[in-house]
């Protein structure tokens, strides 16, 4: 979405995500399995800035798993992409927030999703386009475990592993990462590590950080238990170590 005038909005912290989530109507307001992953991405990994949402050098985060997007909207609001005042309008006729995010309506949404299996192929195209335009931005894709049944994902995985690796003739320093939320089996040859079983955001951070931004990678994230408050002391120690 093109923003001509972007107001600098207040940012919210991890502890404030519950109140943002609860401001959205409907039973699907809490989705912990994507919430932690999304928070870690937007808080610690992604090079994105809500004050410059169209910066062509920004990292691209693609929510391929578009259903139940409340966690995504909450994180976007926390990071200043959305005005929190719009959260209570979720799914109303004139709301920019629908049951699945629409990139035309939602600042910070890189794609409109909802039908499964579309995000990863779009990401492959984005990675090529960024490379062609000389950008080193990263492309990140969040896929649901059930979503991985869709064959279009496997077209993208088979292609990207070969054609977007540093060893392919056209490689430069494009960062590229693919994440799954859920306990899908590892695709052959992906080399992904087993996901930790704790739901802490720090384990999630450790999960993402070591992966080289130079080659396509698949991060498999086991399904999380119900959302719990973070361990703030542990978070500070880990954050300093990784900084």
């Amino acid at each position: 979405m093109t923003a001509t005038e972007v107001p600098t909005r207040r940012r919210y912290g991890y502890d404030e995500l519950p109140q943002l989530l609860e401001s959205m109507p409907g039973e699907e307001a809490i989705r912990p399995s994507t919430l932690d992953v999304l928070w870690v991405l937007y808080d610690r990994i992604l090079n994105v800035d809500a004050d410059r949402p169209d910066d062509p050098g920004r990292d691209r985060f693609v929510l391929s798993k578009g259903h139940a997007p409340s966690a995504f909207y909450a994180v976007l609001a926390a990071k200043g992409f959305l005005d929190p005042a719009v959260l209570p309008t979720l799914q109303q006729f004139d709301s920019p927030l629908g049951g699945h995010p629409d990139r035309v309506l939602v600042t910070g949404a890189e794609i409109g999703s909802g039908s499964l299996g579309h995000g990863l192929p779009l990401c492959v195209g984005m990675a090529h386009g960024l490379r062609a335009t000389g950008r080193s931005a990263g492309v990140f894709c969040l896929i649901g475990d059930g979503e991985l049944d869709e064959g279009s994902n496997h077209e993208a995985i088979a292609y990207a592993g070969r054609s977007l690796s540093p060893d392919s003739p056209s490689s430069r320093s494009t960062m590229h990462r693919v994440g799954t939320a859920g306990a899908a089996g590892s695709p052959p040859g992906s080399g992904s590590p087993a996901g930790p079983r704790t739901p802490s955001t720090d384990a999630t951070t450790e999960h993402w950080q070591p992966h080289s931004r130079r080659r396509p990678a698949i991060v498999r994230r086991s399904s999380l238990r119900r959302w719990q408050p973070d361990d703030r002391d542990h978070a500070r120690r880990v954050h300093r170590r990784n900084a």
Partner: protein, 301 residues
């Protein structure tokens, strides 16, 4: 040997890749050997996804999302029908533009059977918003239409065929060309149907419009040249595809419109495209008989 539409597309595509760093070409194995050198010159902008058409269109959409001008190309059924949801969502729903260029129109691949034939392609694009559709009638018209398509940022379908007229015409993208004037009816000949249509209407008092831009539909030229409100469409794809657009242009007038094109039958025959023309009533003699019947019909008053 005369260049085919596919040859002209290959040449024009090479020029476009060389001239504009935003242009990218996405292939799914088909025609890849024609672009090996281009892929070496522009490795990030000539992409072969392999036989993965869902990925092909997804990649096309992703390229557009990063500001590139992508062109995706393969056989019509595999470009349009197989990844139709990707066309709907990865292009339309993302609100991005792309140029889709097909070969193997309707029954060009007569020997290959139904699996390689897609006469419903244009009708499918009519179910989606925001598509421009070009149907050239000769290889010489392909370059100008491709360049026109690439120059914009919108969604364009360019339909190439082995069926051809004898000579290229000067195309004005977006406008019907008035080939001849008459008063008893207006016959719209789309793309490769022009020559056989002109042969069919020899001696008949009809206007013939040559159509290479089928969408958006140039209702203005249709109205400006209208004699008797009797309209005959001669289309190389599914019969009647453009009838609703004629009706929309003439909604304020009582009129008759007849669509000649490929009927909705599965022939289960091979042979040549000319044999299929005859089987579907799309040769010059059959078209003439249809138009004579239309002209002879008395309106019910």
């Amino acid at each position: 040997m005369t260049a085919t539409m596919r040859d002209e597309f290959t040449d024009a595509m090479h020029e476009a890749l060389d001239a504009d760093p935003r242009v990218a070409l996405v292939l799914a194995e088909i025609s890849a050997d024609a672009f090996v050198d281009a892929a070496e010159r522009h490795p990030d902008r000539v992409i072969n996804t392999g036989i993965r058409e869902q990925l092909m269109i997804g990649v096309t959409g992703g390229l557009a999302l990063t500001g590139m001008r992508p062109v995706a190309h393969t056989y019509a059924p595999f470009l349009v029908e197989r990844p139709f949801e990707q066309i709907k969502l990865d292009l339309g729903h993302q609100d991005v533009g792309a140029v889709l260029v097909s070969i193997g129109a309707s029954y060009d691949r007569s020997v290959s059977g139904r699996t390689h034939q897609a006469p419903a392609d244009v009708a499918l694009f009519d179910t989606l918003p925001g598509w421009t559709v070009y149907v050239p009638g000769h290889a010489g018209e392909v370059g100008p239409l491709l360049r026109q398509a690439i120059s914009g940022d919108d969604r364009v379908y360019l339909r190439l065929s082995t069926q051809t007229n004898a000579a290229a015409r000067q195309v004005d993208p977006g406008r019907f060309e008035v080939v001849r004037r008459g008063s008893a009816a207006t016959v719209l000949a789309v793309g490769p149907m022009l020559d056989r249509t002109l042969e069919a209407v020899t001696g008949l008092d009809v206007t013939v419009l040559y159509v290479t831009t089928v969408r958006p539909f140039d209702g203005r030229t249709l109205l400006a040249t209208l004699g008797a409100p009797v309209l005959v469409l001669v289309e190389p794809y599914r019969e009647g595809t453009s009838v609703p657009f004629v009706a929309a242009a003439l909604r304020h007038l009582p009129h008759r419109s007849i669509g000649i094109g490929v009927p909705a039958v599965e022939l289960r025959r091979y042979g040549s495209p000319a044999e299929h023309d005859a089987a579907y009533g799309l040769d010059a003699a059959s078209i003439r008989r249809r138009i004579e019947t239309v002209l002879a019909a008395q309106p019910a008053i």
